[in-house]
């Protein structure tokens, strides 16, 4: 079972190779390989979820695999170690489960793709493998590698299989995310020049024998020697390891991102600047107002399964990056900018909801509702309270399920009519009763009706935001009050859309091509929507299913951030 995480990453990548070897016209085989690979991934991730031991000692990464990959001699600066380092903890666990689940749903949704099937499924699996890699990587370089590798397949998937303005949307998506990832790259370079791996340094400096686990005393001794300046230069092993970067003792004195460093640039301490760069990098991915404008375009042009992947998984990488890297590595900056982060979160909630209210295109409406919902992640994180951070994580998971449903719903309408305009439809409930029932579930779950997973998440976030001023002193109360308004707006745009499209007298715009027949769901569509609806309900009624697994690690994350601020 040592290789379970690696198999999660490499099963899809292996399937890519198999698909590339298959002949172009053997479409059924290609689809089956893709389905098989993602199903295997789902089974493994469910197994991982059940085998994950939440009672284990805190901050324990489980199923860890750590191999040296690239060693570069930096001469006077010592050695640079890049590792293949994967592991799972409570923060990544739910994301891994979500990835396994949504990948399969996406493959089912892709079954009707007809253009260049071989290329499509190869890129799809490459994307899934990279997303999985992102959630499992514990080495910053490895994380960055997978982060960049998500871009290319996504770019092609939108650019080749997308709607009429696909090229514009693809390049816009690409440039935005790329700028984000380059900002991350700057900080990554700064972090590796500043951080060192105490265990490997001990071996290099002959303080510990090679090939054995280095004891905690030796690690502490190395940290002490480096801090005192007796161990310097060529004997230091620089690292990209995220767990190492999370400890202030692992920063070299005098280096650019050392916690005691008083270096400033434009009158801002460099560590604060690094936090901001990383924050913007991940905020573009999340996305956060005002760097969200790529999202509606990308969603509108992307084919349905790719929209599902984009909303359910790729956006989560942004939030996950904040949890995994930004907050633990820069806790003092996180505390300093908590107000700003919370404010941006609330701005996203309100602005996203208002935009959604104004949209005439159902898919755009849902895209903006994503912006609004991801604002809750930021708000919960910024509150730095137990409720808030748990809620933020819960929101990421729950939004992954709900947004997948919502985008499949728009796909269902689009497949039948070639249009997604809200004004083109009325009274769909008459021709598509079962579909309407599922739409109601999805809309209500998304607007945060009690009983669905969205409610739990948003409730926790708001609780955290309200109590923040008293507990951690991060956010003023008015932010929470304004954010509550976002829920109201959410109810408004969903109910209004529901009323306009599904209720009233049955009518479909006569000028839509081929006078579409709005038949009810097919078996394939049931297969996608019903499991998601059930999961949304289960996680709404029994939040402890997820929280029991993830809370210990999230609370530990919170403690370490609050201690080091």
């Amino acid at each position: 079972m040592d290789y379970i995480l690696s198999s999660l990453i490499f099963i899809p990548l292996l399937a890519v190779l198999i698909i590339l070897c298959l002949p172009k016209h053997f479409t059924q085989g290609i689809k089956l390989v893709a389905l098989l690979a993602t199903s295997l991934q789902l089974i493994l991730s469910v197994w991982l979820y059940s085998a994950f031991d939440a009672s284990a000692t805190v901050q324990g990464y489980q199923f860890v695999q750590q191999l040296n990959w690239i060693s570069l001699n930096l001469q006077s600066l010592g050695l640079l170690q890049i590792q293949y380092f994967v592991g799972v903890d409570g923060i990544s666990l739910s994301m891994v489960l979500l990835t396994g689940l949504i990948s399969v749903i996406g493959i089912i949704s892709s079954w009707t793709i007809s253009k260049n099937i071989k290329g499509y499924f190869a890129l799809y699996l490459l994307l899934v493998g990279s997303v999985m890699g992102c959630f499992l990587a514990l080495d910053f370089f490895l994380f960055y590698l997978f982060f960049e590798f998500m871009l290319l397949p996504m770019y092609f998937l939108i650019g080749i299989w997308g709607g009429p303005r696909r090229e514009y949307a693809a390049i816009k998506f690409f440039i935005y995310t790329l700028i984000g990832s380059l900002l991350i790259l700057i900080v990554m370079i700064g972090l590796y020049t500043s951080a060192f791996d105490p265990a490997a340094t001990a071996v290099r400096a002959n303080l510990a024998p090679a090939g054995q686990v280095v004891s905690a005393e030796v690690v502490a001794e190395v940290q002490r020697q480096v801090a005192a300046g007796t161990l310097t230069g060529a004997s230091i092993v620089h690292t990209f390891s995220i767990p190492d970067m999370q400890q202030a003792a692992n920063f070299i004195p005098g280096s650019i991102l050392n916690i005691l460093s008083e270096k400033q640039l434009w009158d801002i301490p460099v560590r604060y600047l690094a936090f901001l760069l990383l924050f913007i990098g991940f905020a573009i991915k999340l996305p956060v107002v005002p760097v969200h404008t790529w999202l509606p375009d990308a969603h509108v042009e992307a084919p349905t399964p790719i929209s599902v992947l984009l909303a359910s998984l790729l956006l989560k990488v942004g939030g996950y990056g904040l949890f995994r890297i930004v907050y633990p590595v820069f806790p003092e900056a996180a505390a300093y900018y908590a107000y700003f982060v919370g404010l941006v979160g609330v701005l996203s909630i309100i602005y996203g909801a208002m935009c959604a209210l104004a949209m005439a295109d159902l898919k755009k409406l849902i895209a903006y509702s994503s912006v609004s919902h991801m604002g809750f992640v930021l708000l919960g994180l910024a509150s730095l309270t137990s409720e808030g951070t748990n809620g933020a994580m819960y929101q990421m998971f729950s939004h992954g399920l709900i947004s997948a449903m919502l985008f499949i719903i728009t796909g269902v309408i689009y497949d039948r009519s070639g249009s997604r305009m809200i004004d083109n439809f009325r009274g769909l409930a008459f021709s598509m009763p079962a579909f309407t029932a599922l739409v109601v579930v999805a809309f209500f779950a998304s607007l945060g009706l009690p009983g669905f997973s969205g409610f739990i998440a948003e409730l926790l976030v708001l609780l955290g935001a309200f109590s923040s001023s008293a507990v951690s002193g991060m956010l003023p109360r008015w932010l929470a009050i304004v954010a509550t308004g976002g829920l109201l707006l959410g109810a408004a745009y969903y109910l209004w859309a529901l009323q306009r499209m599904f209720f009233g007298k049955h009518w479909v715009h006569p000028e839509l091509k081929g006078e579409p027949v709005m038949t009810d769901l097919t078996k394939r569509e049931y297969l996608m929507l019903v499991p998601l609806a059930i999961l949304v309900l289960i996680f709404g009624l029994f939040p402890s299913l997820l929280l029991n697994k993830i809370s210990p690690d999230i609370n530990y994350f919170l403690q370490s951030v609050l201690q080091n601020r």
């Binding site: 001469q75 390049i171 690409f174 700028i179």
Partner: protein, 460 residues
């Protein structure tokens, strides 16, 4: 030294072989010559030799960069197949000029005396003037040759003037001896104007050769008119040798006189990055885009020059290698495509993904490497340069460079859009077997540099 002798004699030998009727034999022979030079060059590793009264030093630095330029030339050659097919009369002369220009390139990386630098630059440049205008019946090629010659002569003149002024200020042409005098004088108000002027003029001369802004104006026009095959050579060999020479001059002679050149160079780096990248965005011709891209890469290399520590020479070496390999692959494919479709704009690549999957894949990988996507050599090239610069705390410069890299993605990816997202604009492009092999080799090398950069990142 052996490589200089070998290249010269092979060049002369090649001219005689050119008398033979069969043109087919020339390319394999030249490839063989270059392979011999490559091997002989590497045998001198770790064995520093000086020649001509210490005017040339063949050390590891020189050997490494000689290997880069020779390897680049080997990789460029297979794309001259169309010249052979057309029974071009001057083929042997072209190849000989390439061999001779390599001699100049080697002198530029091995010089120990400013006169040698000057002679090396001249040997390289004069061959390039001829090759730029080698497509005699093409007006643009004529323009390129003349433009390059006129501007190049001025630049060489300025360079020579600079060298003379430096001689006037320090009394020597030897770069190691200049060092102590320059360090002493750089803080002395009475004598430094002469030195400063000399250094500035030298900077201008070399910047012209490596096409760093604001001395880049010739680059797009000349590159556009130059036959693609020679452009591939020019934009890689001249750049790699030029930067190696540039670095050697700065690190050996003027390390102590940073107060004179540091602000100048930093401004030039920013301007070069901006002009290269923003200029490339505006192009519709792939060939002109590659010309601007070569300017922008000069900007990144200048950052390595500026960071100025024990890793910058390794960074320059690694970056030049990764850049050369990807550029040769891209321009080689352009040559193949343009020969058939008679077009050097982005449109020439339309639908290449469907007609020639291999060419499109190689092109995609080289574009990714030039743009700096992980797992390719170009990414580590940039990473090394940025980390070397970060140590000098040039954070704002890195931020500028990285934003410019983001711009770079836009124009590099336009060709990928054309290849995969548009309908084919022509039939399958024929590719010779040697060229196919070279393309695959370059792709593999790009990945090797990107997956195991440790192999080559630390050899100097």
């Amino acid at each position: 030294m052996n490589s200089i002798i070998l290249l010269t004699s092979f060049g002369i030998l090649n001219l005689f072989i050119g008398f033979s009727k069969s043109k087919k034999i020339i390319m394999p022979l030249v490839l063989l010559f270059l392979a011999i030079v490559f091997v002989v060059n590497l045998t001198g590793w770790n064995d520093t030799q000086t020649y001509f009264e210490r005017m040339l030093t063949i050390d590891n630095f020189a050997i490494a960069f000689t290997a880069v330029v020779v390897l680049t030339t080997i990789l460029v050659l297979p794309f001259s197949q169309s010249y052979i097919d057309q029974q071009n009369d001057s083929l042997a002369e072209y190849y000989s000029l390439l061999l001779f220009s390599l001699v100049g390139a080697i002198m530029m990386v091995a010089y120990e005396n400013l006169l040698m630098l000057f002679v090396g630059i001249e040997i390289l440049s004069i061959s390039m003037y001829i090759l730029a205008g080698s497509d005699k019946k093409n007006l643009k090629s004529n323009e390129a040759g003349l433009k390059y010659f006129l501007m190049g002569s001025f630049a060489t003149g300025i360079l020579l003037f600079g060298i003379v002024l430096i001689y006037g200020a320090t009394g020597t042409f030897y770069i190691s001896e200049i060092s102590s005098a320059a360090t002493a004088q750089s803080n002395n108000e009475l004598t430094s104007p002469l030195l400063g002027m000399g250094l500035l003029f030298t900077l201008i001369g070399i910047s012209f050769k490596v096409s760093a802004a604001p001395f880049h104006f010739w680059t797009p026009d000349v590159y556009e008119g130059t036959p693609t095959f020679f452009m591939a050579f020019m934009s890689t060999v001249v750049k790699a040798a030029g930067f190696a020479g540039f670095y050697k001059l700065m690190s050996v002679s003027f390390a102590g006189a940073q107060n004179i050149w540091f602000p100048t160079l930093i401004a030039m780096a920013v301007v070069t990055l901006a002009i290269g990248n923003i200029g490339a965005v505006a192009q519709n011709s792939f060939k002109r885009m590659m010309a601007y891209s070569s300017i922008s890469h000069a900007g990144y290399l200048m950052i390595a020059l500026l960071s100025f520590n024990d890793r910058s020479e390794n960074a320059i070496f690694f970056y030049s290698l990764a850049y050369s390999v990807s550029t040769v692959a891209a321009l080689g494919i352009l040559k193949l495509v343009a020969d058939q479709r008679d077009d050097v704009s982005y449109n020439a690549f339309n639908g290449l993904g469907r007609t020639n999957p291999l060419l499109a894949a190689v092109m995609t990988i080289s574009m990714c490497s030039l743009a700096g996507i992980p797992l390719t050599g170009g990414f580590f090239g940039k990473l090394f340069i940025f980390s070397a610069a970060l140590e000098q705390e040039l954070l704002w410069l890195i931020i500028v460079a990285i934003l410019m890299a983001a711009v770079g993605f836009y124009y590099y990816f336009r060709v990928i859009i054309a290849m995969y997202m548009r309908e084919p604009s022509g039939d399958r492009v024929p590719v010779g077997s040697v060229a196919t092999f070279a393309l695959i080799f370059m792709t593999v090398l790009t990945f090797v540099l990107g997956i195991a950069p440790g192999l080559l990142s630390n050899i100097l």
